[in-house]
Point group: C2
Chain length 359, copies 2
């Protein structure tokens, strides 16, 4: 089966209604890549990722069709399945991999998706990954309730493994994610926020679930306590790197690739690392200008570009990306106890990918 008009021949079309086809096509190797690339990794672990896709689709079986429809809309909206991939690789790094990580990877993706649905209501977001958000299409009630449903389903699925360590790991991550989101809201529009506060927020709101993805992979694969702890720390550092990079991309990404409006954080009053750095480094006059733009309800594109220019001039963008890279290095350090292997190399590739997706 080939797909006409896509510029290249692929085994399957990018059919939004057929998520498995979509992922099969995504996992095709890039013909021009040199090893190791993220495409190579996706190809190598394609069977595992497809198992996770099947698990996601078959688990969503509410007797209320609209719940499945809304959930699948966002679950099949082009997410990169980074957390499932990290869980697969972490599991394979440990002594006795089973198939339990397939179920758990779906659980993690459900939890992640639940937070996206709720975030869109909280932030009144209309676009995510270039598509209309669920709340735009079905309303706030659908986003809130389907988020709740995905979380309840995740918990129920987690329980099916009857592994207390798994369930407690999931719950810790969930509580921390919510706490991180809440602290972020407390600090909304707070231009005095310190870098350490910012890092703590993203450790909770983002890194805790990524850490859990790696840690849980270790649990269900006979990881030793030291290995599980290493995987947790790896995931935590990588999660921080991921969010720092994401926040920086909000200023620098190519609009069409990010799939959302640039400068969304600035417009929503989120004070992230590039801005924190800029406010520390710029002159008083520049600071006044930045604050004025920040406080205006809808800053013009020119005003936004002025801030971006200042960030480049004061090294704020480079500082933030450099911090993201340093957290990747820190993350890789935690994998030192694991002997070299294909899986470990793949983790390095994924780690680099999450901080260099779009720049």
């Amino acid at each position: 089966m080939s797909c006409q008009g896509s510029g290249q021949t692929r085994e399957f079309c990018l059919d939004k209604l057929s998520p498995l086809s979509y992922y099969r096509s995504m996992f095709q190797p890039a013909k021009t890549s040199t090893f190791p690339t993220i495409q190579e990794v996706w190809e190598l672990y394609r069977p595992d990722l497809l198992n996770v896709e099947s698990q996601i689709q078959k688990t969503l079986a509410s007797e209320v069709p609209i719940i499945n429809q809304v959930a699948l809309y966002i679950l099949n909206s082009g997410g990169k399945r980074i957390r499932p991939l990290l869980m697969i690789l972490s599991a394979k790094l440990c002594p006795s991999p089973t198939e339990d990580h397939v179920l758990l990877a779906a659980v993690i993706e459900f939890i992640h998706t639940a937070t996206l649905l709720h975030d869109d209501v909280i932030d009144e977001g209309n676009l995510r990954r270039g598509r209309k958000t669920a709340r735009t299409l079905w309303g706030n009630h659908a986003s809130i309730l389907v988020g709740d449903y995905l979380y309840a389903t995740a918990v129920a699925q987690g329980l099916s493994l009857t592994n207390q360590e798994v369930n407690l790991g999931l719950q810790k991550a969930c509580s921390q994610m919510i706490e991180g989101e809440m602290v972020q809201h407390v600090h909304n529009s707070d231009l005095e926020i310190r870098e350490s506060d910012y890092l703590r927020i993203i450790q909770y709101k983002t890194a805790s679930l990524i850490a859990a993805s790696c840690y849980l992979g270790g649990i269900v694969s006979g990881g030793t306590p030291e290995q599980k702890e290493s995987l947790y720390q790896f995931g935590q550092s990588l999660g921080i790197a991921f969010q720092v990079a994401d926040d920086t991309l909000d200023y620098t990404a190519q609009k069409q690739r990010l799939g959302k409006t640039l400068g969304a954080d600035l417009r929503e009053g989120k004070v992230t690392l590039p801005l924190i750095h800029l406010l520390q480094k710029c002159s008083e006059v520049e600071k006044k200008e930045v604050i004025e733009t920040f406080k205006s309800t809808d800053p013009s594109e020119r005003k936004f570009d002025d801030i971006l220019d200042l960030m480049h001039r004061h090294g704020s963008i480079e500082y933030a990306f450099s911090m993201a890279r340093s957290y990747v290095q820190k993350a890789m350090g935690f994998l030192a106890p694991f002997a070299p292997s294909t899986h470990k190399s793949a983790l390095r590739v994924v780690a680099d990918y999450v901080v260099s997706r779009d720049h």
Copy 2:
């Protein structure tokens, strides 16, 4: 310690900042009551209910103060703790009561509270139990996130009992509650909805958690499979009775006692039993008038009173209350296998109370 100016001497003041004091005062026996009254039951089980209060307060220990603040605001806003009381009584009805129902009663109340927080965002509600809703005071983000946090905390607390039957029971209830809410939204403004659909919705959205309260009480108290099933069925029928009564009170209650605007369901497009009955019984001319009022964005008080008059004339209010009472009878039938006892009598009192709170 006595409280000045409250019209009667009580051991503790109704201090909103001291929930334990508040509940202690609520559980004081009514001096003029004749046995059995709900006040008598509250007095008899006061030590158990106070244990649940302590459990609620001590479990809420997020390191993010605003989460505890918002959660306690709604947890201490005058809810009657019907679900904890039903769990306590169900547990005591079984062969080997332990103290585990204290923790579980708090878990159930957390889940119930999480749904209230999310419902207020969904319905854009500004008043609950006569007080401003959390979303009015702190914003939608706080209501959504604290709801999520309460749910995550409930799951974590449930896990601490390491009882799979308990956890699966909780999860089933949560999934059904959400499904019921979602179907209710699908049927919003649907004047063709059948009574059977309505009953199915309230069975899911309301009765499932009340059924779980009773069932879980049985699980942690050595209930036999038959006893646990009886308690579940008791709770389910009682839950349906509760919601039918609640929906009818939305038309008939005394405004100040309900703590919210009368006719809220009508204004929000929720088609409940009195309206379903009226539309079946009234003339075509009356039906046209009812539909016109229903579809207007903000019906006047006079129009609302006209509908209430029609409901009284066609026996819709009596029909609905009668159905609530018949579900209470059905519920009590499920308790037949239990020998007569104080606890069983108390359940009868609570069952009657939930359908006769305000009329």
